[in-house]
């Protein structure tokens, strides 16, 4: 047991020595740290500070009054709606895609992986335009939609569609490496033990990718709430109807209503910060679990 408790220490000492061997002189280290901090300060903390400073420039009362405005409330509702639809759908799609790619071999697998990445590589404006060209007045399905009195472009469905498109790689991308790494062994074991496909999925596959899934959902949600480009193209900026939070901020800003604009922006920033906190917590938790599993392995050799 004494050697077992020693071994992690030895390991730590080993990595420590390795760090020292590759480490730079103090001056270089401080210079690097200073550059990083300066960079972060100018491009990240300063703007974030300005957002909150301007938002609260006319006092807390003015800040809060912004959120009493029906147009602002409508924008918040629309953002939550779009994210509320896009995130669950993309979670389901992501699980299905990652499952298919990670656990099975089929022709066209690489094509599918590339396609999943498409929204990452295409400009959001183009993503929005796709839907305009498809569902817009002059679009492919436009006449038919008008004939049946279905509005997609410049309406809520278009915003939801654009949000789904832009955010669909997130969950799949997070799940894929985990699913591929875990292989099929546990699923096969479940099968030989008499579990059905659904039982195997819900009792074995899904719990094993739990953390990756949560992480993917968080990232997906952050993007869904913050998306501007694609949504801007399909929205038409109808106040109180098709403005999401990012669009509403732009409208307010262009109207020289700086306090309301920054107040809404601060809400969006707070949502992003909250997302980051949850994300870090999830990362920490999953790493903690992995670490615990590893150390227990080391303490109890076969």
């Amino acid at each position: 047991m004494s050697t077992a408790t020693l071994s992690p220490l030895d390991l730590a000492a080993g990595t420590g020595a390795a760090c020292r061997a590759t480490s730079e002189p103090a001056a270089v280290r401080w210079a690097l740290i200073a550059i990083a901090v300066l960079f972060l300060g100018i491009f990240l903390f300063l703007p974030l500070g300005v957002v909150f400073y301007t938002a609260l420039g006319d006092g807390v009362r003015a800040y809060l009054r912004t959120f009493g405005d029906p147009d602002t409330q409508s924008a918040i509702r629309l953002t939550l709606l779009a994210a509320g639809i896009a995130v669950p759908l993309n979670a389901v799609f992501g699980i299905a895609a990652a499952w298919a790619i990670g656990k099975f071999d089929f022709t066209g697998k690489t094509v599918l992986i590339t396609l999943i990445d498409l929204p990452f590589s295409v400009s959001p404006v183009v993503s929005g335009l796709i839907y305009v060209l498809l569902f817009g007045l002059q679009g492919l399905l436009g006449p038919w939609l008008i004939a049946h009195d279905i509005r997609i472009i410049f309406a809520v469905p278009g915003i939801v569609l654009a949000t789904i498109f832009v955010t669909f790689p997130f969950v799949a991308r997070e799940l894929l490496p985990t699913m591929e790494a875990q292989g099929n062994d546990e699923e096969e074991a479940a099968l030989t033990l008499g579990a059905s496909g659904w039982q195997t999925f819900f009792r074995v596959t899904l719990p094993n990718v739990k953390w990756a899934l949560i992480y993917g959902v968080i990232l997906c949600n952050a993007r869904a709430m913050g998306e501007f480009g694609a949504v801007s193209v399909v929205s038409g900026h109808i106040r109180g109807l098709t403005d999401t939070m990012p669009l509403h901020i732009e409208v307010l800003y262009n109207d020289y209503q700086f306090v309301p604009a920054f107040a809404v922006a601060s809400l969006l920033a707070l949502l992003a910060l909250a997302t980051l906190v949850v994300k870090s917590a999830v990362e920490w938790k999953s790493r903690e679990q992995a670490r615990r599993a590893e150390t227990t392995n080391r303490e109890m050799p076969a």
């Binding site: 096969e188 479940a190 030989t192 008499g194 009792r203 074995v204 739990k210 599993a293 227990t296 392995n297």
Partner: protein
């Protein structure tokens, strides 16, 4: 439940993993599929389990054709090489899994499941570890949990893929004996895959030696070891010295590259002497002596510069006073010759030996 494999062929792309394999496994026996990696033994096991499906041929359980049944319907217990324990479940939950996923009608009540799992925990001597996660167990403990999990569903046959492959030597030895005792108690038809000939010979009632997708020989450990059907089997089961020579008038010539046939001599069947004894012998020079262990292992270089291995008892070694670089005579007590055709005949479909 007896298992019968009839003419099973399986291709992976252009690689033929199994080539018209026939095998009969009587009920209640413990059978080893033995062979080098790539010989198709794991594929055969997975086809029996229903995790893989044969391109042609049939699998029967107890005389009933189950070729088209899924793994779920076959009711096999499968122990995976790396155990494949459910990492997010405790030991208890792992073992209970197979019972808990049963359809409502045939699922045992909660209390009964608990009792059953506790019985199995006692069987694998892990009563105190029920609440632990697989990552908190040692390799040997994981292996036992995997076994208990497979046994919990009362499978018709138990299939084990390299069950001791990932364990260190001492644990492997213990688990081996434990599995043998378990099998003697439970008497479930069991098939295990191994590349370790010692493991197969020690543990199994029947050994099927596989090579390049075929079964070279199936028989009792005594059969395959002492009466190997092909040069491959002879070679694979235990150490062996290979010569190219011929036998004329009862005298063996060990070095005849031109017209020689393969001659096999096991290391313990070579005798070292100081004087020529008039029989079939050849000269050699001692190059290496390893006296650690019950047998002394000696390496000698022959007149024609080949290395031969000899094993002799500690007593013989003491009596001879062998030293390095000493010239000696080597006399085989027994040789095995396979006709060159014999080495190839394994490629034909060989009916399995009846036990």
């Amino acid at each position: 439940m007896s298992i019968r494999v009839r003419g099973v062929t399986k291709d992976f792309g252009r690689f033929r993993a199994l080539n018209h394999v026939d095998l009969e496994i009587p009920a209640g026996k413990l059978v080893a599929l033995l062979g080098p990696s790539g010989s198709g033994k794991t594929t055969l096991l997975r086809i029996i389990a229903g995790l893989e499906f044969a391109d042609s041929g049939a699998v029967e359980f107890g005389g009933k054709n189950i070729t088209d049944r899924t793994a779920r319907e076959r009711q096999v217990g499968f122990v995976f090489q790396h155990y494949a324990l459910f990492r997010h479940m405790t030991v208890f939950e792992n073992i209970a899994f197979g019972l808990r996923v049963r359809p409502r009608g045939v699922r045992p009540p909660r209390e009964q499941i608990r009792e059953k799992v506790n019985d199995l925990l006692r069987l694998i001597q892990l009563q105190n570890q029920a609440g632990r996660y697989p990552s908190q167990l040692s390799g040997g403990q994981r292996q036992r949990v995997a076994l208990a999990r497979a046994l919990a569903v009362e499978p018709r046959v138990l299939l084990l893929d390299e069950p001791f492959g990932a364990l260190d030597a001492k644990v492997r030895q213990e688990l081996r004996q434990w599995l043998r005792r378990l099998h003697d108690e439970v008497h479930i038809t069991s098939v295990f895959v191994t590349h370790d000939q010692e493991e197969a010979l020690e543990l199994a009632d029947l050994v099927a030696v596989m090579n390049e997708g075929r079964i070279e020989q199936a028989g009792s450990p005594d059969d395959v070891y002492n009466r190997p059907a092909s040069s491959f089997v002879y070679n694979f089961l235990g150490n062996v010295n290979l010569f190219h020579g011929r036998i004329d008038d009862g005298k063996t010539y060990f070095h005849d590259e031109a017209s020689g046939k393969p001659i096999f001599v096991r290391p313990h069947l070579l005798e070292i002497t100081r004087q020529a004894n008039g029989g079939s012998h050849f000269r050699g020079v001692i190059k290496h002596i390893n006296a650690a262990g019950p047998l002394v292992k000696v390496e000698a270089v022959t007149e024609w510069a080949a290395t031969v291995r000899v094993e002799l008892s500690q007593e013989q070694f003491q009596a001879l006073h062998l030293a390095r670089d000493e010239a000696v005579f080597l006399t085989p007590k027994e040789v095995t010759i396979f006709e060159p055709e014999e080495a190839r005949s394994g490629s034909e479909v060989r009916p399995p030996d009846e036990p």
